[in-house]
Symmetry: C2
Amino acid sequence: MARRNQHTKEEIQHLAIQAVETMLHQLHHEAISTRMVAKAIGYTVGTLYTVFKHQADMLLHVNARTMDRMYLHCQRGITDSNTPEHNLTLMALSYHQFALQEPNHWNLVFSLRLPENEPIPQWQQANIDQIFHLLENELTRLHPNMSQQTIQKNARILWSGVHGMTTLALNNKLFIEGITDIETLLSNLVHQLVFSWSGA
Amino acid sequence: MARRNQHTKEEIQHLAIQAVETMLHQLHHEAISTRMVAKAIGYTVGTLYTVFKHQADMLLHVNARTMDRMYLHCQRGITDSNTPEHNLTLMALSYHQFALQEPNHWNLVFSLRLPENEPIPQWQQANIDQIFHLLENELTRLHPNMSQQTIQKNARILWSGVHGMTTLALNNKLFIEGITDIETLLSNLVHQLVFSWSGA
DNA sequence: AACTTAAATTGAACACTGTTTAATATGGCT
DNA sequence: AGCCATATTAAACAGTGTTCAATTTAAGTT
């Protein structure tokens, strides 16, 4: 069989991406093979390689969508009528919640390894910047006189904490004898940093 | 060939672990196969399976040693004659430095996935606790009247930040246009949290 | 309507992977 | 010298990512 022309290249790409996304709801990304995806969309591995450079390329497309979804999720509920601290807390909780809701999608974003010498795609950096801008915006509202550079620094300090807590919690590397839940810990982190910025 | 009895089971185990550790200096852990390890130590895969339950089990043994090394590294330079903040900063910098020095070993610790239903080994939790105790000790010195629970909470808040920063930095997901180096960011994180704990 | 052309799709191959197990060769014991 | 227990292997199985020659067919041309 050849030349059935049922789908355009773009459609096949989309089908594959969707198939991976569906599988990720049950399977860790390391358990997803090209042949599985091909079978799921009714094509052969060979066809997949006419549409993606390699497996990692396919997963990168999945990541692009995950990061978009994550950005939208983190934005949810953010308003200028809230205090900056409240907004920052909302974002931190949303980030963590998203990771809990789609652990395999989230994991893929942070553990996908491209082949050597393959550059990190530029949209990825753009997407990271997008999230940081959200934070920097709140930090600016908090301290309008703070230098741009300090704000960028503090945004990164804060987000490292939120990200680290999410990673560690997801892998059960954070807790002893049910001391507190992570949501409290996240709120505390935000509160303590916000407090420290107002005191110096 | 069989029954050459050149090494005890323990020795074979050790040889394998060492072989993996050597390879990790050049290779990412996903690139290390059982056959590679077997060949490196002059045995066959089959022999490896008489000594380890499976590949993940072998890598878990590597992780045990990495974590011990990491603990020792983080302890380096810590003295009661330093201020608690200084000690905490030293630990944060050491943690990051260790990750930079042995990125593949460090990565393996946090990305090894055991087969489903396989419990996390209990020594791993013990090792995590060990590091947290180091932190909690400094936090206690900082605020002798703080409740044990608050100290445990704050140790986890701090370490999430240090860990998150290290992870993100290692994967180039933290920086824009050379704004500051991570060492500064780590020191700032420690300082800001220490400050916030003294102000409430 | 027949013929050519270009390309979509496949199947099969290659060199790997982790894991299991029957066969085997040998060190130590009687 | 002969036996046995077992350390070790070779081979098999079912998968993996990736490549590419071969094929089939839709569309374009005459």
